[in-house]
């Protein structure tokens, strides 16, 4: 069939999968060898220590950055709906390799009460689908700070609202983060934002107010929502009875009105609890029913997140979160999409063309293909710091479960930061789920990647 014809005519770029796999294994072996080298050298004799004061001299400008290489190997899942969508007209075998590179440059200039800051991001990817490269300004803004109590920012900036680690339903003015890698830097929006801060003695220790204006016009935040609007939002922060509390609101504009609240508190020195709640007015959701008909509904969406962070006596950090997405799809709504893909696939392999698959692909690139599109998730991350007294070495495992369909992912990783400014991370991601489940219908069964990031 057509897939076989493509297999015969397919051409690969760069080294083959076996070669890339071998390189990945070699890199992993080098990483492990570095960790296991016996550290038996004698303790240094009594030393004197110096502190060169030129190291702390402040300059008005700063230039720095971050460079990263990240080869990845994916094991494909031929039964998955997303595999059928992406690979229906090509055959890449059982596995595909991908090479990712990232370069971030940042610079700042400070004079008096003013400061300019810019951070660019360049992503390079070479994969089965070819080469892509994209450069964008992640952040670029000016700050005016006439005193400790007031600040004004204008330009492209991340606001990062919310207290959740893996998800932030109340981050109304931020791009969604990837729960698989929540600490990755994100691209901001162009805003005009102020911060007004007051400190007090007593139960209310801090109060700060952050009003924000976010314009949406052609070429200005044009992927935020309905154009030709100036969106107003605000956040009120309180440190009250040793609890961080934020109240957030986004006025009706390019997106419908929404409000949120979050909190975070250390119950004991090693146990933190946090939560985040969001209400979206008149949220409009479109979905595909099992007959293939597109339907939509408008309703008040409520999302909630509750989580903990716990540090054991053995330096194990446990982060656990439950997330309910009020904008997510139900199992039935997801089944409608998977049924559409199945019908499209059947039509394609029986010579009926790819029109249905193309339609499904459009839907997948919208809401069905977003990160965690369903309603209820559980997130658990366990990080063991420096086991067996190996400093700078931290293994971790992350489990994310979809409570609606029973699927889950398991991601073990090791991070090594012994070398100044260099971080090495070896990470795998295994997906488990039955038919019509989110993780069972993904295009991959597992992936393994090595990330080497260098800051300068």
């Amino acid at each position: 069939m057509m897939a076989l014809r493509h297999r015969a005519g397919g051409r690969r770029r760069g080294p083959g999968p076996r070669e890339q796999c071998r390189r990945l294994a070699l890199a992993a072996a080098i990483l492990l060898a570095a960790l296991l080298v016996p550290q038996t050298a004698p303790r240094a004799a009594e030393e004197t220590y110096s502190f060169d004061l030129s190291e702390i001299e402040k300059k008005p400008w700063h230039i720095g950055g971050y460079a990263e290489v990240r080869p990845v190997r994916y094991r494909l899942n031929p039964d998955g709906a997303f595999y059928k969508l992406r690979f229906y007209n090509r055959d890449e075998g059982d596995a595909v390799n991908e090479f990712n590179g990232r370069l971030q440059l940042e610079g700042s200039y400070e004079k008096g009460a003013g400061r300019l800051y810019v951070r660019t991001n360049t992503d390079y990817r070479r994969s089965y689908s070819g080469e892509t490269e994209k450069t964008s300004i992640y952040e670029g803004y000016g700050t005016l700070r006439p005193g400790a109590s007031f600040k004004l920012d204008a330009g492209k900036k991340n606001l990062k609202w919310g207290k959740g680690y893996a998800w932030n339903p109340a981050a109304f003015l931020d791009r969604p983060k990837d729960p698989d890698d929540p600490e990755l830097p994100l691209e901001g929006y162009i805003v005009l934002a102020a911060d007004w801060i007051r400190s007090f003695d007593g139960p209310l220790k801090t109060l700060s107010f952050t009003p924000v204006l976010l314009p949406v016009y052609d070429h200005v935040n044009d992927n935020f929502g309905t154009p030709n609007r100036i969106n107003a939002a605000a956040k009120l922060y309180l440190l009250l009875y040793d609890t961080d509390i934020d109240l957030m609101v986004l006025v009706d504009g390019s997106r419908t009105a929404r409000a949120g609240i979050d909190f975070s508190r250390n119950v004991t020195t090693n146990f933190e609890i946090h939560g985040e709640f969001a209400w979206i007015h008149s949220y409009e959701k479109s979905w595909i029913d099992t007959s293939g008909t597109t339907r939509s509904d408008t309703y008040e969406a409520l999302s909630a997140l509750i989580g903990i962070r716990y540090l054991t006596a053995w330096d194990t950090t446990i982060i656990a979160e439950y997330f309910h997405s009020g904008t997510g799809y139900s199992t039935e709504e997801m089944k409608g999409f998977y049924a559409l893909v199945a019908r499209g696939w059947q039509a394609y392999i029986t010579g009926g063309g790819d029109a249905l698959l193309r339609r499904a692909l459009l839907v997948a690139d919208g809401t069905y293909g977003r990160l965690n599109p369903m309603r209820d998730y559980l997130y658990l991350r366990v990080v063991q710091k420096e086991p067996f007294n190996i400093l700078y070495f931290s293994p971790a495992v992350t489990v994310m479960a979809n409570l609606n369909d029973g699927g889950y992912t398991v991601s073990p990783e090791v991070v090594y930061t012994r070398f100044t400014n260099l971080e090495l991370r070896l990470k795998a991601n295994f997906l488990f789920g039955g038919p019509d489940s989110e993780f069972g219908e993904k295009q991959n069964r597992w992936r393994v990647e090595l990330r080497a990031g260098y800051s300068f």
């Binding site: 550290q39 038996t40 050298a41 303790r43 240094a44 004197t48 220590y49 110096s50 502190f51 004061l53 190291e55 702390i56 402040k58 720095g64 400070e110 700050t143 700070r145 400790a148 109590s149 600040k151 606001l159 990062k160 609202w161 680690y165 929540p182 600490e183 990755l184 994100l186 801060i197 007051r198 400190s199 007090f200 801090t206 700060s208 952050t210 440190l239 040793d242 961080d244 508190r265 250390n266 020195t269 090693n270 933190e272 946090h274 962070r309 540090l311 330096d315 950090t317 710091k385 420096e386 007294n389 400093l391 700078y392 930061t417 012994r418 100044t420 400014n421 260099l422 971080e423 800051s455």
Partner: protein
């Protein structure tokens, strides 16, 4: 009669220093001899591994009053821009990439190595500890300290104090059960100006990290006052503007 009077006077004369030794007063003297109550300073942290390999961090720190401390990482590049804030027992870490402060605990360590967050964002000893007992030992004083609350990182401290300078020479940090967690050694006394003469190096080791050491070197400790708003989550990304 005269003999008895002289004998009593002699006994009282020798007993006087012991009665005059008030542990709480001594601890407060130790605090003020280490830092002004509100200050700015620079520190270099060095983690030394058993094979002699080192990893260094440079920090700018500010403190106000009894319980407000903030620190900004200046180096290495991978840590630059990170900042930590402590308000009483509340601690936060701001990482530029993450973009918002997250709560941390006193027992964690943002730098790895033997120093933990409580060591890096330390308050005055008299703020966190009561003096259980004080005695003269090895030509100086030995203070036994007990944490005022369970939130304090170390339940007990055994502090050896230099008799003349009234600064610590060595501090043993212990659990409630008396298990040694780490020992801090205060070294290389230096004149920082403004009447502040104190050890410029703190070295620490721990039976929990056999063979590893961490060193903290102090520079440019200066008395300085700040507005309260500097010690807030909102200000954390902007600590560098204080330098």
């Amino acid at each position: 009669m005269l003999q008895k009077l002289m004998l009593t006077s002699l006994v009282l004369l020798f007993a006087l220093p012991a009665f005059a030794l008030d542990g709480s007063v001594l601890l407060k003297q130790v605090d003020r001899n280490l830092n002004p109550e509100s200050y700015e300073m620079y520190r270099k942290l060095i983690n030394v591994e058993p094979d002699g390999k080192k990893k260094e961090f440079t920090l700018f720190s500010v403190k106000k009053g009894a319980d407000r401390v903030a620190a900004l990482f200046l180096a290495p590049a991978s840590e630059k821009g990170r900042s930590t804030l402590r308000l009483g027992e509340n601690m936060w870490l701001y990482i530029p990439n993450v973009g918002k402060p997250i709560r941390i605990t006193s027992l964690q360590s943002v730098v790895g190595g033997v120093f933990n967050n409580a060591d890096i964002l330390n308050l005055d000893y008299s703020t966190e500890y009561d003096v259980k007992s004080v005695m003269e030992k090895d030509g100086g004083y030995l203070l036994n300290l007990k944490a005022k609350t369970r939130e304090v990182a170390y339940d007990q401290l055994r502090m050896q104090v230099d008799r003349n300078r009234r600064v610590p020479v060595r501090i043993e940090c212990l659990t409630e059960a008396g298990m040694l967690i780490k020992t801090l050694y205060f070294k290389d006394t230096k004149d920082f100006g403004g009447g502040l003469v104190r050890p410029s190096v703190i070295e620490t080791d721990s039976p929990l990290y056999k063979g590893y050491r961490s060193i903290m070197i102090f520079a440019k400790i200066r008395k300085r006052t700040f507005k309260d708003e500097v010690f807030t989550l909102t200000y954390m990304p902007n600590l560098d503007s204080l330098r």
